[in-house]
């Protein structure tokens, strides 16, 4: 601390250590400075003056409100690639919105149905698939089968962790492919895939292909079941049928094509009924980091803001008519409820109802203006 002995007020004001203490004192820095001033009492006045200057000279920044930021962020995300499952403008009338959603899902279902129906030669038989089946080639495979009653963890070379449920079976090539990572699953497993956008990760399971760049999700694909389900925990996942006419492009494309799932969304692919249904996982979890978990305490907050906050925390789109809901104030504390409990409480309070539609939540309300 000796270097401070002949400091002037000007010197102090621009000294890193001094500023740090003045602006954000800690017990440690305070001890250091108090002791130093104690043994150099003639410096007290200079220190006080410098501290006042550091504290009082505040940068005057232009203001921007949180809702404005949220609005711009949403608008920006809407401009990114997804054509069908993108964010929809929230100010639209609920009915129009609904029509749009229904039309979009119907189109998708019809396409998926057509694709699966016309192009799968022997539908329902997992061995007949023409893409990526391990029996196709002479490559050597590693096979992991979980014969135990406990989940079994497999650590892959790329850092990915796969947890196989009892009776599950996982196969992958001994020598990794140069441009992609591939595994074959029968049964149930949870995947925590290491990020490597240059080497997309593929799971082949009962006719459904799941493509990710790095994320975590689970797949249920029992050999004797007609359904394959994929649930997303973090990140984004693309799914498409092996019989998809554009399957080659979807595999080799750099982005995620097909039906894209986001956290807390789930797809049910029915092999026999040839359809894909997008919905939410049963118990959605918040997508924000634990430390950043928002507080759900509302006092006279417009229901629209409440839905925005909840939707953001769970990474799920909640669609509502803003004009109707902005006049519905809500006072509640909702920290300990599950997503569905939260939604039920909010809806009850503002006389609304909700529905899960296409992996999103749609709020029906008549408003609260009277």
């Amino acid at each position: 601390m000796d270097r401070y002995n002949d400091f002037t007020v000007e010197d102090f004001v621009w000294d890193d250590f001094f500023r740090q203490w003045a602006l954000a004192p800690t017990p440690e820095t305070s001890t250091v400075w108090d002791e130093w001033v104690g043994s150099n009492p003639e410096m007290l006045e200079k220190v006080q003056q410098a501290k006042a200057i550091v504290l009082s000279l505040r940068l005057h920044e232009p203001e921007i409100a949180d809702p404005e930021i949220t609005r711009i962020v949403k608008q920006t995300i809407a401009k990114t690639d997804e054509p069908v499952y993108g964010f929809l403008p929230k100010t639209e009338n609920t009915y129009r919105l609904l029509t749009y959603l229904v039309a979009a899902s119907a189109t998708l279902l019809m396409l998926a149905g057509w694709a699966i129906y016309t192009l799968n030669p022997k539908k329902g038989d997992p061995q007949s698939t023409n893409i990526g089946s391990p029996t196709d080639s002479n490559i050597a495979f590693i096979e992991k089968v979980n014969h135990s009653a406990e989940p079994m963890r497999v650590d892959m070379e790329d850092g990915s962790k796969i947890t196989i449920a009892p009776a599950g079976r996982l196969r992958y090539p001994k020598k990794p492919n140069a441009d992609k990572r591939e595994v074959y699953l029968e049964g149930e497993a949870f995947f925590d895939i290491a990020k490597d956008p240059g080497h997309p990760f593929f799971v082949y399971s009962n006719g459904l292909i799941t493509k990710v760049l790095g994320t975590s999700f689970s797949i249920e694909a029992y050999y004797d079941s007609n359904e394959v389900t994929v649930e997303v925990k973090t990140g984004r996942v693309a799914v498409f049928a092996e019989s998809d006419p554009a399957v080659k492009e979807k595999i080799s494309g750099t982005g995620l094509q097909g039906v894209v799932l986001r956290p807390n969304q789930k797809i049910i692919y029915s092999r026999d009924e040839v359809r894909m249904v997008k919905t939410l996982v049963e118990q959605p979890e918040m997508v924000v980091a634990k430390a950043l978990t928002p507080q759900f305490e509302f006092e006279d907050t417009p229901a629209s803001d409440v839905f925005d906050k909840v939707g953001k925390a769970y990474g799920i789109d909640i669609l509502y008519d803003e004009n109707l809901l902005k006049d519905c104030p809500l006072t509640a504390t909702l920290d300990n409820q599950t997503l569905h409990e939260k939604l039920s409480i909010i809806c009850k309070a503002v006389e609304a109802s909700y529905e899960i539609l296409d992996g999103q939540i749609v709020i029906y309300s008549k408003g609260c203006k009277n």
Partner: protein, 202 residues
């Protein structure tokens, strides 16, 4: 005037960044929401047109998203975003004036910081005078020195980050900083002395 510790949020930031690069929309949202205000404040130093600044931030994120496959997964997020916004705004303004839409200040000649003097911390009139003088003196610095002062003392960034943002060598950052502080100290002392003597005489 807030010091932002670098280390605590660092790894979270990097993880979000890597999720962003992997194509995760929720990471897009976290990243853009989390940095919007910082970038907005920084952008407003180059242009008084707030809508232009907002548009530029939007363009920046869309551009990064589009090019995410080719971006560095190890980038230091905050300086990287600030540097990218700075480049993008300069380029946009240049192209705007190029097609004759003129009237905008070319940001390379422009870096404005504005202070407010919070009087609650001040007990003596002389301290108030000194603070106001400092405010005025910072405003009179050449724009690159002003920017370096802003990034170091008001954004809490280190030399390497500043060098990345301003696209100059770390040595240049040190030089700019040294010149700026020296300038401030000398003039400040002189002005205060004048004030003090006048005060005694009157």
């Amino acid at each position: 005037m807030k010091f932002q510790p670098r280390s605590t949020e660092f790894s979270d930031d990097k993880r979000t960044w890597q999720r962003f690069l992997a194509g995760d929309v929720s990471a897009f949202e976290t990243l853009m929401s989390g940095y919007f205000r910082t970038l907005f404040h920084y952008g407003c130093k180059f242009s008084g047109d707030q809508e232009f600044v907002k548009d530029s931030i939007q363009d920046l994120f869309l551009y990064l998203w589009e090019r995410r496959a080719n971006l560095n997964a190890d980038a230091d997020v905050k300086p990287y975003l600030m540097a990218s916004l700075r480049r993008l705004m300069h380029r946009n303004v240049n192209s705007k004036s190029w097609v004759g839409e003129g009237g905008l200040t070319v940001p390379e000649d422009h870096f404005e910081i504005e202070f407010s003097v919070e009087q609650e911390y001040i007990n003596h009139e002389s301290t108030l005078v000194r603070t106001r003088q400092l405010d005025k003196l910072i405003g009179e610095l050449p724009k690159r020195q002003k920017e370096v002062i802003y990034l170091k003392f008001f954004q809490g960034l280190d030399r390497d980050s500043i060098s990345e943002i301003m696209d100059v060598t770390p040595q240049t950052v040190s030089n700019l900083l040294q010149i700026a502080i020296k300038q401030l100290k000398t003039h400040w002392k002189a002005e205060f002395l004048t004030f003090f003597m006048l005060h005694l005489l009157l």
